[in-house]
């Protein structure tokens, strides 16, 4: 494939060592536009199994659009996405979910009318299979399945230290807790790839510390691959293994945090130079 050849030649040479680690996802020359507005232009990068991959860039750089492309919510006009070694066809978001991509949202997208427990239980939807008639009877298989998954959910509740708000409708929780419940909901899906869209936006220092700890734990304990968007550079540099930088829908840098930090294009994008 042409796109493949192009990508390897332009990739930095020290990347080839790391490329031996198994690739989870690979994005090749993806472009996305709405009407005449180009949101993403010809972006290629990859995510390796087990790493924490950060996507950063100024506002409007196309970061969230990139995540939307990865989990099938937007369909790019050009380019290919390779998921676990297979080129992915155009798919619906629920298909991406069933392949193991979970996600949290920039503006908390919890189910407002439901309790914390139900919200996290909803993450188990794909793993529960009892049909309508068993559900109607409840006694027996449906109840057994429900309890089985409740146990898993309670583990997540313990892990995130939110036992006390188990039965509280999420609409009543503080913003920081809502973000935490949302992480719990994504974890309940037991994903292969977890996409976090600004997990720490609007949090105070203490909440950020907690959230960083959870992200690292999820990555190291469960081995979940994480791709995150974040504006707090301290957090990004500390947590992530590799960083990709977008600006005006284009990729301007890709590599380990130290390298990206020193990149002149990145500094220009953030501090602003006249274009």
């Amino acid at each position: 494939m042409n796109a493949f050849a192009l990508d390897t030649t332009t990739a930095p040479s020290d990347e080839t060592v790391k490329a031996e680690r198994e690739l989870l996802l690979r994005v090749d020359n993806v472009s996305l536009s709405f009407g005449g507005v180009k949101a993403i232009t010809n972006i290629s990068f990859d995510i390796q199994k087990g790493e924490i991959r950060a996507i950063i860039g100024p506002n409007g750089a196309g970061k969230t659009s990139m995540l939307n492309v990865i989990n099938g919510f937007y369909h790019p006009q050009e380019g290919t996405i390779t998921w676990q070694g297979q080129v992915r066809r155009k798919m619906k978001p629920y298909e991406a979910a069933s392949q193991g991509i979970a996600r949290t949202f920039q503006n908390v997208a919890l189910f407002k009318g439901m309790t914390t427990l139900d919200n996290i239980m909803s993450g188990r939807s794909l793993k529960m299979h009892r049909n309508f008639f068993w559900q109607m009877l409840w006694r027996g298989p449906a109840e057994k399945e429900e309890i089985e998954h409740r146990r898993k959910v309670e583990d997540i509740i313990d892990f995130l230290e939110i036992q006390a708000i188990r039965k509280t409708p999420v609409g009543r929780l503080s913003y920081g807790l809502q973000k935490r419940v949302e992480l719990g909901r994504a974890l309940a899906m037991e994903p292969d790839l977890l996409l976090l869209d600004e997990p720490m936006a609007g949090m105070n220092l203490e909440e950020k510390e907690d959230m960083s700890r959870f992200i690292l734990d999820v990555n190291q304990e469960f081995g979940t691959t994480i791709a995150l968007i974040e504006h707090d550079m301290g957090v990004v540099m500390d947590l992530s293994d590799r960083v990709v930088v977008l600006d005006y829908g284009k990729k301007i840098a890709d590599g380990p945090p130290e390298e990206v930090q020193a990149n002149q294009d990145v500094i220009d994008a953030y501090l602003g130079v006249s274009h």
């Binding site: 709405f34 009407g35 969230t64 919510f73 920039q106 503006n107 997208a109």
Partner: protein, 317 residues
């Protein structure tokens, strides 16, 4: 069978152009009236985001008040002024009693409140003026009531009711007046500001309550005009309620916030319905007018979920 559906109606249209033109005219007039009801919806929806189900009933209520007052001995023009005053009181009351306490509620709750208002107005109107259908006092108001027949050479003739022509003219004048009001006056600007963002409008010193009272009054005036026109074509009675539901497909076609949309939507529904009924309705036993409008809107929706004039919706997350 296929011939009956795909060919025969068009042959008829060609062979009897006078009948076809008459049907078109009927569709045009019905469309104008649908558009007028939809116009009232649009005014309120634009300024407050409330889907005012009571608009159809306000039409009947205004007509009923006008006729009822006249029946009780009030001269026609004075009755008209009094009815305008009643619509003003109604607007103020609705703003005070319904809108203000329900501010910031989800749209379905507001919709429900206007359905409650519908029930209240039906009950109130019938309680005061009685339930039997009434005759509109078109003549006393100085509206033309005759008709003119146009001959089309040897191909027959079409008959135009003067009241229908008047309806079309009044509709055009009203839309133009509203356009000027929206775009050229201070209140119109405030209204557009409120439509865009309630809180931002409040923060620059626009009084939401005042604006709401004004739009409800404007919608009341539109309702009164519609009531007179419609009442002159048939009776004034709450049976009109069913017809008022057709404003919904009209709005779907035109978009909830577009005044030209309401007009075009009304005309599409009016034409579609009359032509459909008279040329195809007979095939399935007639009476398809009762649901054809909804099906037309539904088909449009499936291809353009945002309506004819709406912008393409890009879902964000």
């Amino acid at each position: 069978m296929l011939y009956d559906i795909f060919i025969d109606p068009f042959v008829q249209m060609y062979e009897m152009p006078d009948f076809f033109l008459q049907v078109l005219w009927e569709g045009f007039v019905a469309g104008i009236l649908y558009a007028l009801i939809a116009l009232g919806f649009v005014l309120i929806f634009k300024a407050s985001g409330v889907f005012n189900f009571a608009q159809g009933i306000m039409v009947v209520f205004a007509g009923l008040t006008l006729v009822g007052l006249n029946e009780n001995g009030v001269p026609a023009y004075l009755a008209l002024l009094l009815t305008i005053a009643v619509m003003g009181v109604l607007a103020y009351g609705v703003e005070r009693v319904v809108m203000r306490p329900l501010v910031n509620q989800p749209e379905i709750i507001l919709l429900m409140a206007t359905i409650g208002l519908t029930y209240f107005l039906i009950g109130f109107g019938e309680f005061v003026f009685g339930g039997e259908p009434k005759q509109m006092i078109a003549e006393q108001l100085g509206l033309p009531t005759g008709s003119t027949a146009f001959e089309m050479g040897e191909r027959g003739l079409i008959i135009l009711q003067h009241i229908d022509i008047a309806a079309a003219v009044i509709a055009v004048v009203m839309v133009a007046a509203l356009g000027v009001f929206f775009n050229k006056t201070r209140i119109g600007r405030a209204l557009r500001a409120v439509a865009d963002d309630h809180q931002a409008a409040l923060s620059v010193g626009i009084s939401l309550n005042q604006i709401w009272a004004i739009v409800w009054f404007a919608a009341g005036l539109v309702a009164l005009a519609t009531g007179i026109m419609w009442g002159a074509r048939s009776d004034v009675s709450f049976a009109l309620e069913i017809v008022a539901f057709k404003a919904l497909p009209v709005l779907i076609l035109g978009g909830f916030t577009s005044i030209p949309g309401a007009i075009v939507g009304g005309l599409i529904i009016g034409f579609g319905e009359k032509i459909g009924e008279l040329y195809w309705g007979g095939l399935v036993g007639g009476g398809i007018e009762s649901w054809l409008a909804y099906i037309i809107a539904l088909i449009f929706l499936l291809f353009r979920p945002q309506g004819l004039f709406g912008e393409r919706i890009i879902e964000r997350i």
